[in-house]
Symmetry: C2
Subunit: 412 residues, 2 copies
């Protein structure tokens, strides 16, 4: 999809494309943590799918939830209808995984959708509100304790953003508490943070986190999570807000297809991204499992985007072959790692592009530029740039909005 | 509050101010219809109350829901605590009123809060989505029929905005329906639209609505609303989306005080905005009822703002008097009508400022300028201006986001 948006030549292929999504919008996930920490509005990082594809006349969009796939009849099953296909590309992504502890979910929500993000924003802002009127010092301390479970890029970015909120944006907003007294604790079961980045960069990021007032606890496995807080290495830590930034599990695509999956539920695909016995069914992105040079491909947007382009090119080649009576064997998919970026707080970035590895302000500017570039829509790019510049110079966060659905009453 | 923001001298009075609100944000209601029609994001028209008042050191903010007032003990009652007062200002606003037909509410939601606005946005966008996959022509027609009950400024502005959405923003987004075929019907029980404006201006606005494709039905009382549509003058009109833009009812303040109210539940206040026997309790805004020159004051922001300034000045004068041992009788509140503005669609405004009465493009520019001016916060002013400029030149609406709370599954 990203590729089509830029080249606009997809529309010229002699195919009918149907895009089915249960959301009406494309979500730019890398900036979701900024919605959760009141930096951006939901619509700033979303683009309506119909709007993105409006000029692509051979493409129609269905808003709806897929419930299964009928491989025999070649149909995608939905609640009240079925959509036939010649070729199928499944890119249904991933959700959080609590590693068998699904009972932790209510106490430690994760961050995958706009709804998750606005709920987290509400929880974080309400914790400060509740602390302001709490007179018991222990309860107040628990209200101002924020625990992030999992120190991958999302955990690190969230920790930095909550720290900025507490130390900068909320200063002098309260009369009975000092928001800067909030404890932000980043817990990681593994030996270090940012496991996918080189150790040298990760250790610099950890120093920056400490500098921002974030407590980093590596080698600390979470043993329990409940309404009162977290159990870490036999000790209970009282915390009102616990955020799950650890494991992910693939969507149900593996169950729909009845094909082999890995431990995280990802569909094991062949080197051309199709599944065994069904060369017209492709699985890509976070819901696919493929190894390259013995290592599984990571669950990153750039992997999914390259896989999408690859699957489309295989399909168009096969259609050409069918027309001309020729035959081309598909070259196996090859992932080209263009590098990784992350950010900590308001002016510290991490760049890891092959041999170019550095951290600091320039790395942060690169992070900004790349994220603005990949955001869909000029309007969103401008709005996000403006709000970042505003936040940078004023230290304020503009989207400090606590909203409720109609059924929920105010939490006192 | 608005006044303090601008003058910043409230903080110098020798008083302790406590602001209690069940929301953490101040909402700029006049632009709520733009959130409901995907033009703006919720945070663009909201400002956190703590942020607005952060420099006012004598003021603290409590996020919480008021449940009553104890006039004897001089305390404001909340779910789990009570806040004592020397002076009390109640400005608890209004909700929709269904004139005794509360059973209509689920089928014809109104527009008073951010939650209302995002729900309406979802309903409107989902109606187009459902029409796209509907094969039955009658059902499709009902899905593309939007009825607004009540042709005051909100009804007129919503009708214009939905028309713009259907005729401009969604063009070429769908493959099976033409969004421009949507019917938008503005129903008014009274003899004409915009009853609070001069007849000449209202009739020009009605022409503009017709020009935008909105059907205006005046003198048409709604007799019933259910899941299938609306009953008007004995005839059933099939419509998926019905929006209540008619009556309002005051908040529960009258019940809390046990004092006399008018038919809409508004507290009948004395000329100094206090209630009988309690000269330290003021009621202002949509929840107060006061006549001036024999006519009740309208439920407008400018009335509420002037009343707020007045109540504050009475209180500070009384405190000064108590200190100096002098006494000043309060001059009765006098409302100064600064004029009314409204807008229809993307470039037609209505201006009614004493003898200056005109409609059209210049009036629309005035509407824009006044609304930007009264929006709190430079950041919000800039964001709204940019999005309006973008929408004006591209015909696109940026916040086309359908979101759900976690409990709701997708409506198919």
């Amino acid at each position: 999809m990203g590729d089509c948006e830029q080249r606009e030549d997809c529309a010229t292929h002699p195919v009918d494309v149907t895009v089915i999504d249960r959301n009406n919008h494309h979500l730019f996930q890398p900036l979701l943590y900024q919605v959760a920490t009141a930096g951006l509005s939901p619509a700033d990082i979303c683009a309506p799918i119909r709007g993105i594809l409006k000029r692509q006349a051979n493409t129609s969009v269905i808003l709806g939830e897929v419930t299964g796939v009928d491989l025999q009849e070649q149909r995608v099953l939905m609640h009240d209808k079925a959509v036939p296909y010649d070729y199928l590309i499944l890119a249904t992504g991933a959700r959080h995984s609590y590693f068998g502890h699904d009972d932790w979910e209510p106490f430690a929500p994760g961050l995958k959708s706009i709804t998750d993000a606005t709920m987290l924003r509400r929880n974080i802002l309400l914790a400060f509100e509740a602390a302001e009127v709490e007179t018991d010092p222990d309860k107040r301390r628990a209200l101002l304790t924020f625990v992030l479970v999992g120190a991958g890029p999302t955990g690190v970015e969230m920790a930095g953003a909550i720290s900025e909120l507490a130390h900068k944006a909320l200063t002098s907003d309260f009369r009975h508490i000092d928001p800067a007294s909030a404890r932000i604790i980043l817990v990681e079961a593994g030996p270090r943070i940012l496991a996918t980045f080189p150790e040298r960069l990760a250790s610099r990021a950890q120093k920056e986190l400490n500098h921002l007032g974030v407590e980093v606890r590596t080698g600390a496995a979470v043993e329990g999570i409940d309404a009162d807080g977290v159990m870490i290495a036999g000790k209970h830590l009282a915390a009102q807000t616990v955020i799950w930034t650890a494991g992910v599990a693939a969507s149900l695509a593996g169950q729909w297809l009845g094909t082999e999956t890995d431990r995280a539920g990802r569909v094991k695909v062949l080197p051309d991204l199709t599944i065994p016995d069904h060369s017209n069914v492709f699985v890509i992105g976070d819901t696919a499992s493929l190894a390259q040079k013995g290592k599984p491909l990571p669950g990153l947007a750039q992997v999914a985007m390259q896989e999408g382009t690859y699957a489309a090119s295989v399909i168009t080649q096969r259609i050409k072959d069918a027309h001309t009576g020729t035959s081309h064997a598909a070259v196996p998919f090859h992932y080209l790692d263009k590098g990784n970026l992350a950010t900590v707080g308001r002016s510290f970035g991490i760049v890891d592009i092959k041999r170019i590895q550095f951290t600091g302000f320039i790395a942060w500017v690169m992070w900004l530029a790349v994220h603005i570039f990949f955001l869909i829509g000029y309007r969103n790019r401008f709005l996000v740039m403006f709000q970042w510049a505003w936040a940078y110079f004023t230290f304020q966060r503009g989207a400090r909005l606590i909203t409720y659905d109609n059924k929920t009453s105010l939490i006192e």
